[in-house]
Symmetry: C2
Subunit: 250 residues, 2 copies
């Protein structure tokens, strides 16, 4: 297979390297187009008002990929439209450091990269590991190989999936669940501080989800399952299309 | 009503001022928390790795609002969680310079601000005008008043709507359509250039939609209708939940 890798942690992130080594070892052609540094929480942002710079990155004398001073969605668009000589069979975004579940999927550069590939008609997988420390990328990189094979060959209309792996040794993982995104907001607060010149500034802090919704990505991840959520790029709330009755405005 | 205004064109944008004047004149309490400059195409990005600075903006000796060096989604979160003394009845994002229809809704800071309000449980409206020049903000600001009243009082489960107004004189607008988001990709290209030091860079360019899907926001806007699309923040592709059959992975 021809595989495009990207992420939002940057081209030098360990999670991306784990995917690279793993797919390369299996004989796939692996191409990397990723941000030149961390772009966490950039959502589906694009760079349209500034030029996008790119540079080749080498590892052990061989070209490893392209570093882009843009967002994950930029990387996917630029790769498909300009940088690559072939259209990849699949795009994999990750392995992200930290889970991307619930509402956080909207803020996630990792998930948005997969969504962008889906918009461009290519099957895509976002993969994240549910911890910021002690990361077992090897296991996640191993699991994603099976998920890639399954998803690539599956006869589904779904173009993109969001995969989250518990940060646990393999034998402690209970299984895999195909499940929906939690829609509960998180408990958020802004920590207010004063800078040495007397100006106010804030740090954005997020903690736990307000409501643990049953049978969602957050729910099953907590229960030590790998979660797979099919995602889409139609934001229409179809359930409300008939619910909203046209106002009489002239 | 207590109304929070924001946008992605920045606190000094004419479209935001038009909303401010219009709702203020009707006796509403209007609060403004908006980016300190343009943040187009930032999607649902959040500022989590840097502090968010805020400063009060005055007009004619009176406080006009808060300028935030963050994204539209930051503005909404910060306003609701910290800056405002009341929870607004409604959040209005716009009036954006340029339409936000089809796939562009995913990249739009304007739409994401409305989505963010919906996540926080507040009804929200994103409003855009379909031109980058000759902008008749007065008419759009007039129309949105009726839409706000209707939507605020309507008994719908929908929390956020995306409104697009043709850039036409009132008598040329054919009516209002409640419709879905187009899912067709756009024709995109990256213009490759070489800087004076010999480095490659790209400009991202977008042109027309690849396929004009019937009965969508893009379709009706072209036909000179105001479009209203109910939007949601659950990215799950529910139609595929049963479509994907669990792989046998251990």
């Amino acid at each position: 297979m021809e595989i495009l890798l990207t992420n939002d942690d940057g081209i030098h992130a360990l999670g991306l390297c784990a995917l690279y080594e793993s797919f390369k070892a299996d004989g796939h052609r692996v191409m990397v187009v990723a941000p030149d540094g961390e772009r966490s929480a950039v959502g589906h942002a694009l760079t349209i008002s500034d030029p996008i710079k790119v540079r080749k990155v080498f590892k052990e004398g061989q070209i490893f990929g392209w570093a882009v001073n843009g967002t994950p969605a930029d990387c996917v668009k630029l790769a498909i439209n300009s940088l690559l000589d072939v259209k990849p069979d699949i795009v994999i975004s990750g392995i992200n450091r930290g889970a991307n579940v619930g509402i956080n999927c909207l803020y996630s550069g990792t998930v948005s990269a997969a969504t962008e590939a889906a918009i461009l008609g290519i099957k895509a997988i976002a993969i994240s590991i549910a911890s910021f420390s002690d990361l077992n990328y090897c296991y996640a990189a191993f699991v994603v190989k099976d998920i890639v094979n399954w998803f690539y060959n599956s006869n589904t209309s779904c173009k993109a999936i969001n995969v989250n792996v518990p940060a646990l040794p393999a034998h402690k993982i209970k299984g895999i669940k195909i499940t929906r995104q939690s829609t509960s907001p998180f408990n958020e607060k802004f920590e207010k501080r004063i800078d040495p010149r007397g100006n106010v500034y804030f740090w954005q802090c997020t903690s736990k989800v307000k409501e643990l919704q049953v049978d969602t990505d957050i729910y099953w991840l907590k229960k030590k399952f790998i979660t797979i959520t099919p995602i889409k790029f139609d934001l229409t709330d179809h359930s409300c299309l008939n619910d909203l009755v046209l106002p009489n405005i002239n």
